[in-house]
């Protein structure tokens, strides 16, 4: 997260707002609801109160306009810039302008007004752009229905740095662990560290030993207690046992971990040779016998040669074409003696490379003792 120079913010945390000009793409009620939901995301995690007024001068004035519209930042027609906002200050400070040349919606066709308003109101409150791809304050638009669009911990830390924590509301300081025995439980990522399988979900980690004597030993905790410095949800992870290295992927970045310590700076997934259409990796697993690392992204998979340090040609290929019995998408994957395990949805598929087929299917959270 980041702030404007001198960290401007609203002195009075009861902030008024008004919609001065609406878009014909949506009903007034839909616009007001989208704005209200977006404001609520911020007031849920900081001691802020928003009051809509319909007369007089509001702190935050929201409006739709196209091309040149009275400030020094004309819009650019469809696509490109969707909206902009001004930092907290008198007059135009805090105001939000949406580009009327875009198609606005509640989440179907067109750009989600809720998602864009949530971002722009972050500016109105004093935040600038974040480099964390999972943050609402990331500069580029990612399509979201309002149901799955939440502030990331980066956003929460940013706004609470400016305004503190809400006094009377419960804000999860340490998010509670995901409900691992829920029948629909699915994983974000998995890998091996020495003799332990490590599972990731949201920002939680479980470590299960594979040593038979302690088979039912399962450790768990918040990701920051195992990997300080990685605070985004993990998309994928793989290990190269021979090198004792673990690779963790979040968004377009990856980290190299050795002895549970992050080595060097974050790398870019594009160093592996992914096309820019790939914005994140879903799952990854290293097959030491062939010195190959297999990446799953969407319905496709890629094969990376660790020795040549480049993607093998002829990829990506469709997962279902080559992996008999595996669903279209893979959430997580790991390899240990006995086979390759692919986690998709709420199931775990044991895949036999030689037979080229699934040999066993169990509930995914069996690995977590459920």
């Amino acid at each position: 997260f980041s702030f404007y120079p001198y960290k401007p913010k609203w002195k009075n945390t009861t902030i008024t707002y008004t919609v001065a000009k609406y878009t014909p793409d949506m009903s007034r009620g839909e616009v007001q609801k989208s704005i209200r939901l977006a404001l609520k995301m911020w007031s849920d995690v900081a001691p802020l109160k928003f009051i809509e007024i319909n007369h007089g001068k509001a702190d935050i004035v929201l409006s739709f306009a196209s091309r040149a519209h009275g400030d020094f930042f004309p819009f650019d027609g469809p696509g490109g810039v969707l909206a902009h906002a001004f930092q907290p200050a008198e007059g135009m400070g805090g105001d939000v302008h949406f580009d009327e040349d875009e198609k606005w919606s509640t989440g179907g066709q067109g750009y989600s007004l809720f998602a864009v308003a949530a971002h722009e109101l972050g500016h109105s409150l004093g935040l600038t752009h974040s480099t964390d791809p999972s943050a609402v304050m990331y500069p580029t638009y990612r399509h979201h229905g309002s149901s799955q669009y939440n502030l990331s911990s980066d956003d929460v830390q940013g706004i609470q740095t400016l305004y503190g924590k809400p006094n009377n509301k419960k804000v999860e300081i340490q998010p509670t662990a995901p409900k691992k025995c829920d029948p629909m439980f699915s994983f974000d990522a998995a890998a091996m560290i020495q003799n332990e399988i490590i599972f990731f979900k949201s920002r939680h980690v479980w470590m299960r030993t594979t040593k038979s004597s302690y088979w039912n030993q399962l450790r768990e905790g918040h990701i920051s207690s195992y990997f300080p410095g990685i605070d985004s949800p993990v998309d994928a992870a793989y290990d190269i046992p021979a090198q004792g290295m673990l690779f963790i992927f979040t968004g377009q970045k990856y980290w190299v971990i050795q002895e549970l310590k992050i080595r060097g700076r974050a790398g870019s997934i594009y160093e592996y040779g992914f096309p820019s259409s790939v914005r994140q990796v879903d799952a990854v697993v290293h097959v030491a016998e062939y010195e190959k690392t297999i990446f799953f992204a969407g319905q496709f998979y890629y094969r990376y040669d660790e020795q040549k340090r480049q993607m093998d040609s002829g990829f990506p290929r469709r997962i279902q074409t080559d992996w008999t019995g595996i669903p279209r998408r893979v959430d997580a994957a790991f390899k240990m003696i006995g086979g390759l395990f692919l986690l998709s949805g709420s199931r775990s598929y044991q895949y036999d490379f030689r037979q080229k087929r699934v040999v066993k299917i169990i509930a995914g959270n069996t690995w977590l003792g459920c």
Binding site: H84, Y111, E120, H129, T131, T140, Q252, K253, S268, S276
Partner: protein, 81 residues
């Protein structure tokens, strides 16, 4: 593709990039500035943008960088607000 179409593509890419970097990374290319100098200023801004988006910091307009520049986004600058 005929060469002039390639050339046209490249010109469009450079124009896209200059507009993007001017708007979001406070690129200033003064008229008449010596070519070499404005190229290195441009490369430095491209590198800054690539770092922000976690791309390989090549300083060149590779396809990944151009694709990110084409993505719909917020109009507030990423740096030097």
């Amino acid at each position: 593709r005929p060469v002039d179409e390639d050339q046209k593509m490249r010109t469009e890419d450079v124009e896209l990039a200059e507009g993007y970097l001017r708007r979001f990374y406070s690129l200033e290319i003064k008229g008449g500035a010596r070519r070499a100098r404005s190229t290195s200023v441009m490369e430095e801004k491209i590198r800054k943008m690539q770092n922000f988006f976690g791309l390989g910091e090549t300083g060149h307009l590779d396809s990944q960088t151009l694709d990110v520049m084409r993505e719909p986004r917020c109009g507030v600058p990423d740096v030097d607000n």
